[in-house]
C-alpha cells in the first residue's frame, strides 16, 4: 500500500518532442516508421484493432523491421518521448505512468530494449518486478520483442501477492473470481450461481456481480445480498459489485459493504474520462475513501480494476496508440493504487479488436507479462464472443498457457456462459481442471474453508483433490424446495452433473449446442426476399461490403455505402422504419412477420406518416442517423438483431432503436440534459424482443406508443422519460 499518492504536478515529465523517423533497410528498399506510435504498433503481433487503426505492420517483414528498430532503441529514448494526444498534450494517464522509481529508471535507461529483454529473461521474478518499477507502460514495450515462451518464462517467475480478506497470488495457488451475473439481478439467480461456484472451490479471489441496473439503490442491494451469501457460507473471500466508482462510493455512503472498489480503466484520458466518466482525481478520491472507510479489516489493498486490449480503439479514442501499449498504460495507471486485483478481459469486445483465437492468445500472454512486470496482481478473464472467430477450445488453449505463465486467477462464469453480458469466459470447471493439470491450489484461507466443508480434500499423499461435496450447490440451501426455487429463476443452467472436474458430457453438449445456434445466428445472411413478403422494402447498402468486414469493422455498418444515400431524396414522412441484421439476421427473420404488420397498423391508425420500410444488410445501430438525415425523418425506428449470447432462443433477440433527430428548437435542452453540447440525436431503446422475451406483437404496440410520445414531446431516451414523469406530476 502506498503511503500516499504522488500529486500529479510532482511527477517528473519529459517534454513532448516531434515525431522522428525510424528507418532500416528491407529486402526491397528502406522501411520507414514515422514516430514512436507507428513503430510500436508495427512491432506487435498482428491484431485486428491495430490493423483497423492503421498501426499494424503491413507484413511480417515490416513487423520484424519494426522489432529490430525497437530492439536497438534505448529505454531512455522511448522514455523521453512521451506519446501525446492529437493536440500535443501529455494526458493524465500518461502522466501517471511516469511516476516511476527514478533510481531504477536511471539504472535501465541506457539499456536497449533488446538488452532489457535479455536481462529480464535472466532475472529472478523479484528482480524483474524491481526493474519494472523503472518502466512506464510505454517502455514496457519490451513485451513486443518476446515470443510466446519468453512471455511465459518471465511472467511465471513473478508473484505479486496482495491481501484483502484472503491472500491472493501466493506461489502455488490459482484462484478464481466468481461472477454470478444474472440478467435481472434476481437474488435467487445470484445466490444459486454463488453457491454453485463456491461448491466448486471458486471465488477465493472475489465474488463480484456486474449489475444489470447501475443505480445506487440496486448496487447497494446486490452488495448486501453478496455480503449475506458470503457470511452464510462463512467463506473467506471478498465481495464487489462492478458498477461505476461513483455509484459504489454513493452505496458506501449508504452503508453498503463496499469491500473492494471497482473501476474499468482505459489507457488514454480521452477514453477514461470521455467514455468512462472517470478522472485520476476521482480514482484518487476513491482510493483515499476506501483507505479510510473500507470495511475489510487488515486489508492491504482494496482496489480492483478491469482492463482489456482494444477498448480505446473501439471508442475511437486511442490517440494513435496501439492496443498493447494502451493496455500497458492502463497498468501504469493501476499501479498508482496498488490494487488488490486486476482483471484483463481482452476478448470481450469482439472481432474488431481481436479476430481469432491466436490474436486473443497472444494478447492475453502479453497482458499477463506486462501486468506482472509492472507489479500487478494479474488475473485474466480469457473470454470470447460468438461473432469473433474464437471459441471454447481456443480459450482453453490460452488458459493452459496463462496458467503455465502464473496467472493469479481466472474467472468463474458458470458453464462459461455469462447470463447478463452475452459473452463467454472461464468456468469453475475450467479452474478446477487447471488446478489439477498444473498442481495448483486455492488461496490458503479459502483452501482451509474448502477442506472444512468437504469441497476439497487431501489424498494419501497430501495432494489437494476434489472432496465429496465438490459440485453440490444444493448443500448450501436450507431445503430442496429452496434450491428448486433458485434453479427456477436462473437461465442457461443446462445441468449440474459432472465428470471429474468437467461438466458431464450431456451438460457440455447442451452448452455447446446453444453456442452453435447463437453463432449460426450471427452468420446467417439476411433474407431480404423473405422480408419483401411483409412490405415492399427498399434496400440500402452499407459501407460494410462483406459479412467479414461487417463483423470486423463496426463503423462500416454504421454508414451507407459511398453514393448510396444519393439514391434517396427527402420525404414528407415524420417516421421511417429501417431493418438491419446487426449481429443476428435470425432475429429479424423470426420477429418481423409478427412485428411489422402490427407496427404499420398502429402507425397508420394513429395518423403517423411512415415511409416505405428500408432494409440494410450488414447494418449497425448508428446507420439510422444518416438515413434519417437524408430522408428528413424526425424519427427512425431501427429494428436490428442483437449480439447472441449463450441461449439459443435469445439469439433471436431483436432491438428497436427509436432514433429521434433533434430539431433545432430542442437541441439546447437536449444538450443540457445530456451534458453533450454537440448532441444531434436522442434514442429510446426497446430490447429483448423475441418469443420468450418481449413478444414481437407486444413490441409493435410498445413501439407505436413510444413513437407517438417521442413525436409529441419532441424528446427521446432519458429526457423523454423525465418529461413524461414531470407531466404525470
Amino acid at each position: 500500500m502506498p503511503a500516499s499518492l504522488t500529486p500529479l504536478s510532482e511527477i517528473p515529465l519529459p517534454s513532448p518532442r516531434p515525431d522522428e523517423n525510424y528507418c532500416c533497410d528491407g529486402p526491397d528498399g528502406p522501411i520507414r516508421f514515422v514516430g514512436l506510435k507507428s513503430l510500436l504498433g508495427a512491432a506487435d503481433f498482428p491484431k485486428a484493432g491495430d490493423r483497423h487503426a492503421g498501426l499494424a505492420a503491413a507484413d511480417e517483414i515490416a513487423r520484424e523491421a519494426a522489432r529490430t528498430l525497437l530492439s536497438a532503441l534505448t529505454v531512455a529514448h522511448v522514455h523521453e518521448r512521451p506519446l501525446c494526444t492529437a493536440d500535443g498534450r501529455i494526458d493524465d494517464v500518461m502522466r501517471v505512468n511516469y511516476d516511476v522509481d527514478q533510481e531504477i529508471h536511471r539504472e535501465i535507461a541506457p539499456l536497449t530494449f533488446g538488452q532489457l529483454k535479455d536481462r529480464l529473461l535472466a532475472a529472478t521474478g523479484a528482480e524483474a518486478v524491481r526493474l519494472g518499477r523503472g518502466l512506464t507502460g510505454v517502455t514496457a514495450a519490451v513485451a513486443k520483442l518476446c515470443d510466446i515462451h519468453e512471455l511465459i518464462l518471465v511472467a511465471r517467475r513473478i508473484a505479486n501477492p496482495t491481501r484483502a480478506r484472503t491472500l491472493l497470488g501466493a506461489r502455488g495457488t490459482l484462484s478464481s473470481r466468481l461472477q454470478p451475473n444474472h440478467p435481472t439481478d434476481d437474488p435467487r439467480g445470484i445466490a444459486l450461481l454463488t453457491w454453485w461456484g463456491l461448491s466448486m472451490a471458486a471465488g477465493d479471489a472475489l465474488i463480484g456481480v456486474n449489475p444489470a441496473i447501475d443505480t445506487v439503490e440496486n448496487v447497494a442491494a446486490v452488495l448486501h445480498l453478496l455480503d449475506d451469501l458470503r457470511r452464510r457460507a462463512a467463506a473467506p473471500t471478498q465481495i464487489c459489485v462492478l458498477s461505476h466508482v461513483k455509484t459504489q462510493l454513493a452505496a458506501l455512503d449508504r452503508g453498503a459493504p463496499v469491500e473492494i472498489l471497482f473501476q474499468s480503466l482505459a489507457g488514454t484520458e480521452a477514453t477514461l474520462t470521455g467514455e468512462f466518466d472517470v478522472t485520476v482525481e476521482l480514482l484518487d478520491h476513491g482510493w483515499r475513501t476506501m483507505r479510510e472507510r473500507g470495511p475489510v479489516r487488515g486489508a492491504a489493498q482494496w482496489m480492483y480494476f478491469e482492463t482489456g486490449q482494444g477498448s480505446e480503439f473501439s471508442y475511437g479514442r486511442h490517440e494513435g496508440i496501439d492496443m498493447t501499449t494502451t493496455e500497458a498504460l492502463c497498468y501504469g495507471l493501476a499501479r498508482r493504487y496498488d490494487p488488490f486485483m486486476i482483471n484483463n478481459v481482452t476478448g470481450f469486445i469482439g472481432p474488431e479488436t481481436h479476430r481469432d483465437n491466436f490474436e486473443l492468445l497472444a494478447a492475453s500472454l502479453q497482458d499477463l507479462f506486462l501486468g506482472k512486470l509492472l507489479g500487478l496482481p494479474m488475473g485474466i478473464g480469457s473470454c470470447y464472443t460468438l461473432h469473433a472467430e474464437s471459441g471454447l477450445e481456443g480459450q482453453q488453449a490460452t488458459t493452459e498457457l496463462l496458467a503455465a505463465a502464473g496467472a493469479t486467477y481466472f474467472m468463474d462464469v458458470a458453464l462459461n456462459t455469462d447470463r447478463m453480458l452475452a459473452y463467454f469466459d472461464t468456468s469453475a470447471h475450467d479452474n478446477q481442471s487447471l488446478r489439477e493439470i498444473h498442481g495448483r491450489e486455492p488461496a490458503g484461507e479459502f483452501l482451509d474453508w474448502c477442506l472444512g466443508r468437504g469441497i476439497l480434500a487431501r489424498d494419501d499423499t497430501g495432494t489437494v483433490v476434489r472432496g465429496p461435496e465438490w459440485g453440490r450447490p444444493e448443500r448450501f440451501c436450507g431445503s430442496a424446495e429452496e434450491f428448486a426455487e433458485l434453479v427456477a429463476a436462473t437461465p442457461a443452467l443446462h445441468g449440474f452433473e459432472t465428470a471429474g472436474p468437467r461438466p458431464a458430457d450431456a451438460v457440455a453438449r447442451r452448452v455447446r449446442w446453444h453456442q452453435a445456434v447463437g453463432r449460426a445466428a450471427v452468420h446467417q445472411p439476411l433474407d431480404v426476399g423473405r422480408l419483401r413478403s411483409l412490405a415492399p422494402f427498399r434496400e440500402i447498402a452499407t459501407a460494410a461490403a462483406t459479412h467479414d468486414s461487417h463483423l470486423a469493422a463496426p463503423a462500416l455498418g454504421a454508414r451507407p455505402a459511398a453514393g448510396e444515400l444519393e439514391r434517396f431524396a427527402a420525404e414528407p414522412f415524420p417516421v421511417q422504419i429501417l431493418v438491419s441484421d446487426g449481429l443476428s439476421a435470425a432475429a429479424v427473420h423470426h420477429n418481423l412477420p409478427d412485428l411489422l404488420p402490427l407496427l404499420l397498423d398502429g402507425l397508420a391508425a394513429r395518423g403517423i406518416g411512415v415511409g416505405t420500410p428500408l432494409v440494410a444488410r450488414h447494418g449497425r445501430v448508428k446507420l439510422a442517423e444518416p438515413v434519417g438525415e437524408r430522408l428528413g425523418a424526425d424519427l427512425v425506428i431501427h429494428l436490428i438483431g442483437e449480439r447472441p449470447g449463450g441461449d439459443a432462443l435469445a439469439s433471436r433477440s431483436l432491438s428497436a432503436y427509436l432514433v429521434y433527430r433533434l430539431p433545432d428548437a430542442v437541441r439546447v435542452a437536449a444538450a443540457q440534459a445530456s451534458g453533450h453540447a454537440g448532441i444531434r440525436h436522442e434514442v429510446t431503446v426497446i430490447s429483448n424482443i423475441y418469443a420468450a422475451g418481449l413478444p414481437p406483437v407486444e413490441a409493435a404496440a410498445q413501439i407505436v406508443a413510444k413513437t407517438e410520445r417521442i413525436l409529441r414531446h419532441r424528446a427521446a431516451g432519458n429526457r423523454l422519460e423525465g418529461l413524461i414523469a414531470t407531466a404525470a406530476g
Binding site: 442491494a221 429463476a489 412477420p593 402490427l598 394513429r606 414481437p696 410498445q702
Partner: protein, 478 residues
C-alpha cells in the same frame, strides 16, 4: 432485486378456531427463465401468534378482531390505509365464515387495507387451493410424478385439494373439524355441539349432550365416523352433498382426477391445527393432554397418527406451513401479477374490486357468443371481466380477434364510463388492447391484463398499477 420499490404482502386468516397474520416484504421482478413477472417474497417481516378468533356468543367480536388486525399491521410496518400493499388476502374461513357478521369483518378490512388484496368470506375452494399452495405445493414439486391429496383440518372444516407437481387439480370441502364438539379443557365434559355435530351424534346413537361427559366408546364411534368421511373424500367418493350418508358434512364435492390403473396411490398430507399436532407427534413431540384445546383436535390427531393407510406418510412427506397453511397461501399465492406489457390507457381506471367474470372467450368464438358475453358484461354496472383463452401472440390472431372485438364494441356502443377487463393467459395484452380499440380510436375503457394463470373463478379484483404490473386476485373459485 431491481430498482423497483419494495412492496408489502399481507395474509390474514380468520378461522373457526384461530386467527393469524403474516406480513412480508416483496418485490416485483421478471423471472429470467420464464420471462414472466413475479411478485416474490423477499423476507417475512412479521408473523403473528396464533390467537383464538374473538367471539361474542355466536357472533364475531368485531371490535376485538379489528383491534387484533390493527396491532398486527402496526407490527408488520403496514402504513395507514394499506399504503404499499401490493397483494395478499384476508379470508374468513371455516365456521367463522358462517357467522352472520363475517361480511362486516370483510368490509372493515377492505376499508383498512384497500383493494390490493382479496378479502372474502366463505370461499371454501379458494381456501382449499390456498392451503395446498401454502403448504403442500413445494413438496408436490419435489415429487412431480406423484399425486398428493392435502387435508387442511381446522376447527370447522377440512379443506381438501388434490394436486400434482405443485398445481392444484381439484378442491372440495367437508364440515369436519376439531371445533364441532367443544369440551371443558382437560375433560370430556361437552360444552357445546354444532348443529352438524348434533346430527352426527343422533345418527351414531350417541346420547351425550352439552353438560354430559362423552364416553370413550362414543368418542371412538364419532372419530371413526369423521375419519371415514375423510377416507371417502380421499378415495374420490365425496361427490353428492345430498347423499344422506354425509349428514350434511359435505360442503363442496371433491372430484379428484382419475388415476391410471396400477399407479401409486396419492400421498396424503395435512395442515391446519390438527395437521400441526400430527406432524409434531410423528416427530417425537408428545401430544397435548386430553382436550387440551377444549375440542376434538388432539383426539383427531391421535387417530390420524395411527391411520392404517396414511400414517406412513407423516414422517416421509412433511409439508410446510403447519397450522398456517391458509395464511401462508394468502400471503404468497392469493395475488397474481400481470405481465409488464398490458393495455391500460388510463391508470385511474384501477383499482377495480370484485369484478364479476361473466364468461370465457376464445379467438375463434362465433359472433353470437361474442355478442352475448359482451352484453352480459355491459349489464354489470361496475364493470366486468372476461377470460380470454387460446390467444396466441401472433399478428394474425391479434389483428383478427382484436378487430372483431373492436367491431363488436363499436356496434354495441359501449358506454365510455364502463370498464371492461380482458384477462389473458398469454403475453399479448398490449397488442390485443390496441387492436380491440382500433389503436385507441374507440373510446372504450378497456383494460387487457395478460400472463395470468386463469382459475375458474367468479370474481376478479385488480389492484392499482405497481411497478408497471397489475396485481390480480380471484375469488369465488369453482
Amino acid at each position: 432485486m431491481t430498482a423497483a420499490a419494495r412492496s408489502i404482502l399481507v395474509g390474514l386468516d380468520f378461522g373457526t378456531t384461530t386467527s393469524s397474520a403474516l406480513v412480508a416484504e416483496a418485490a416485483v421482478r421478471r423471472n429470467a427463465v420464464t420471462g414472466r413477472m413475479e411478485l416474490a417474497v423477499v423476507r417475512e417481516t412479521y408473523r403473528s401468534p396464533l390467537v383464538f378468533t374473538p367471539l361474542v356468543g355466536e357472533r364475531l367480536d368485531l371490535a376485538a378482531t379489528l383491534g387484533l388486525v390493527d396491532g398486527w399491521l402496526a407490527c408488520g410496518g403496514v402504513g395507514h390505509g394499506g399504503d404499499g400493499i401490493a397483494g395478499g388476502g384476508a379470508l374468513v374461513t371455516g365456521l367463522t365464515a358462517r357467522r352472520d357478521n363475517a361480511a362486516s369483518l370483510v368490509a372493515a378490512i377492505r376499508e383498512r387495507l384497500g383493494t390490493a388484496l382479496v378479502a372474502t368470506a366463505d370461499d371454501p375452494c379458494l381456501e382449499s387451493w390456498l392451503a395446498f399452495q401454502g403448504s403442500c405445493a413445494p413438496l408436490s414439486r419435489r415429487h412431480p410424478d406423484r399425486s398428493f391429496i392435502h387435508l387442511d383440518i381446522g376447527g370447522g372444516t377440512t379443506n381438501i385439494a388434490s394436486g400434482r407437481d405443485g398445481d392444484v387439480e381439484a378442491t372440495g370441502c367437508l364440515f369436519v373439524g376439531a371445533r364441532h364438539v367443544r369440551f371443558v379443557p382437560g375433560t370430556r365434559r361437552i360444552v357445546s355441539l354444532t348443529p352438524l355435530a348434533g346430527a352426527a351424534f343422533t345418527a351414531l346413537g350417541i346420547a351425550a349432550r352439552p353438560g354430559d361427559d362423552l364416553l370413550p366408546d362414543d368418542l371412538d364411534r364419532l372419530l371413526d365416523w369423521y375419519l371415514a368421511l375423510l377416507g371417502r373424500a380421499v378415495a374420490g367418493a365425496a361427490v353428492d352433498p345430498a347423499d344422506r350418508a354425509w349428514l350434511g358434512h359435505l360442503q363442496v364435492p371433491f372430484l379428484p382426477p382419475g388415476r391410471p390403473a396400477g399407479s401409486d396411490p396419492p400421498i396424503v398430507t395435512l395442515s391446519g391445527g390438527v395437521g400441526e399436532l400430527v406432524y409434531a407427534a410423528a416427530g417425537g413431540t408428545p401430544l397435548p393432554g386430553t382436550t387440551a384445546f377444549g375440542d376434538l383436535g388432539v383426539d383427531l390427531a391421535r387417530r390420524l397418527l395411527t391411520h392404517p393407510a396414511w400414517s406412513r406418510s407423516w414422517l416421509e412427506y412433511r409439508p410446510e406451513g403447519g397450522g398456517r397453511a391458509t395464511v401462508a397461501g394468502l400471503l404468497r399465492h392469493a395475488t397474481r401479477i400481470s405481465g409488464a406489457s398490458i393495455h391500460l390507457p388510463d391508470r385511474a381506471v384501477l383499482p377495480l374490486a370484485d369484478l364479476p367474470i361473466v364468461g370465457t372467450l376464445s379467438p375463434d368464438v362465433d359472433d353470437a357468443l361474442l355478442g352475448r358475453v359482451l352484453e352480459l358484461a355491459r349489464r354489470c354496472s361496475g364493470g366486468a371481466a372476461v377470460r380470454v383463452r387460446g390467444m396466441q401472440a401472433t399478428a394474425e390472431m391479434v389483428r383478427g380477434f382484436g378487430g372483431r372485438l373492436a367491431t363488436a364494441l363499436a356496434a354495441g356502443g359501449w358506454p365510455a364510463h364502463l370498464p371492461l377487463v380482458l384477462l389473458l393467459d398469454t403475453n399479448c395484452g398490449q397488442a390485443l388492447g390496441q387492436a380491440a380499440t382500433a389503436w385507441g380510436r374507440l373510446g372504450v375503457p378497456l383494460v387487457v391484463v395478460d400472463e395470468l394463470d386463469l382459475p375458474d373463478a367468479r370474481w376478479a379484483t385488480l389492484g392499482a398499477v405497481c411497478d408497471g404490473v397489475v396485481p390480480v386476485s380471484f375469488h369465488g373459485l369453482r
